[in-house]
Amino acid sequence: MKKWKYYGKGYLHIRLMSKEPERFLNLCANHNIPIWDLTHVENYYEMNITIQGFYQLKPLCKKTKTRIMIKGKYGLPFFFYKNKKRKAFFIGIALCLFLLYGMSLYIWNIHVEGNLSNSTQSILLYLDELDVHHGIAKRKLDCAWISAQIRKEFPDIIWVSTKIQGTRLILHVQENTDRYVEEEAADTSPCDLVAEKGGTIVSMVTRQGTPQMAKGDVCKEGDILVLGRLDIKDDSGETAQREYVHSDADIYVRTQYQYYQEFPLSYDKRVYTGKTKKHYILQIMDTYFSTRGRAPFTDYHSVSSTNRVKLTENFYLPITYGTITDYEYTPETLTYTKAEAVKKAQRKLTSFLDKLSEKGVEICDNRVKIEINSTSCISKGSIEVIEKIGKEAPTEVVAPPEAEERTAETDE
């Protein structure tokens, strides 16, 4: 470290020719002249001395009758002096420093940390909307404001810390791992439950409302299953009061689905010849370069793999490069055999049943038959299932019982 300090200020390597070298050395020490790397070679003493120190030597030399020879000049001042004619070199250094400083005023990398459920891309896209992007001047950024905006936009991010470190904008986010979902306020408006599908009721549990049907009844589409009105009767069995509630019930019906699926036995297949051709592509902004000329084959399909050039972690440039590979094929028309056709039909049926099961439908009976004629394979039949039904519909409001009575009295 000390050597660098001396190099920066410049130093001399000198040779001492004196009858009293020790006296000279002691005088240097007393005048606080820094001397280092002092060696004794034959009858001479050689040492390094700073430039300022050298100028102070004159009276000491006179006093001790010492002669001094400069053996070498080192350090930056001498370096600049020697290279003073090489202007371009110094301009280059200055330009480099200037550029370095200029570039350091902008954000070159936006780094997002701690995000699991929100992708970095989605956060970056949102930042883009806020006009925070790669290459923005650092002075334009307000970290507290960015943090606040992100918290507003992403409800599951509970904590954001934004900081500028060098030329990086670092966003440290903390997501809510409890997966707490704000429950919607329960709908309490009065409603009925209406059958959206016909069938035989196999089970019915009513939690709220007046059941209009019972287990074993057959309902049609549009029938009211549970009425959202409670008739409170008095001792004489007359309706004393009516209350309206939000109906709630679990109703399961046995119903049927009609299934029909048909596909032709002949199909087209691509038989690959094994011939491929690779091309290179380069895209800069909207300009597109490719080594591919005319179409290489009559029938082919292409697979392209591209990479986007990025400067830093998330700083993508509008330059894309990659390859396109063309695979040649010959189209052939093939026919399914009976076994193949049945297998395919079954696979389609299974996927249909799986979809039903995913919806929470219980499959009781499957009466689908697969038939094969000369040109196509047809699978048709019915599937019996047990399914939950009940669609909310607004309750019809009937006039309160008192009003009815009163009108009856006036009629009389």
């Binding site: 050395l25 020490a29 280092w36 790397d37 002092l38 004794h40």
Partner: protein
């Protein structure tokens, strides 16, 4: 007899306060690191310097360092660092 008393008192103070001797009396400190480095602190002046030996004046006598290819890495009015193959160090 009269000026001896304060000296004894000073000695007592130094001992009670446990001030190191090199600070209290400017006693010389010689530190040898391995066989190639030697530091001398609190010296007064260089009396002789050859590549085989260095003689240094201290407050209470002289110290001679002998060796081969002795080189003074740096020196100030208080401290010096000697480098080279050190063979003997003794008081004169």
């Amino acid at each position: 007899m009269k000026h001896k008393k304060p000296k004894k008192l000073a000695g007592d103070i130094v001992n009670t306060l446990q001030i190191p001797r090199d600070l209290a009396y400017r006693d010389v400190v010689v530190t040898i690191v391995g066989s190639s480095e030697l530091y001398i602190e609190n010296y007064k002046s260089i009396l002789e310097y050859e590549d085989w030996g260095i003689l240094v004046q201290t407050k209470k006598g002289k110290i001679r360092v002998e060796g081969r290819n002795l080189k003074i890495e740096y020196y100030t009015s208080e401290e010096m660092k000697i480098q080279g193959c050190i063979l003997h160090v003794y008081h004169e």
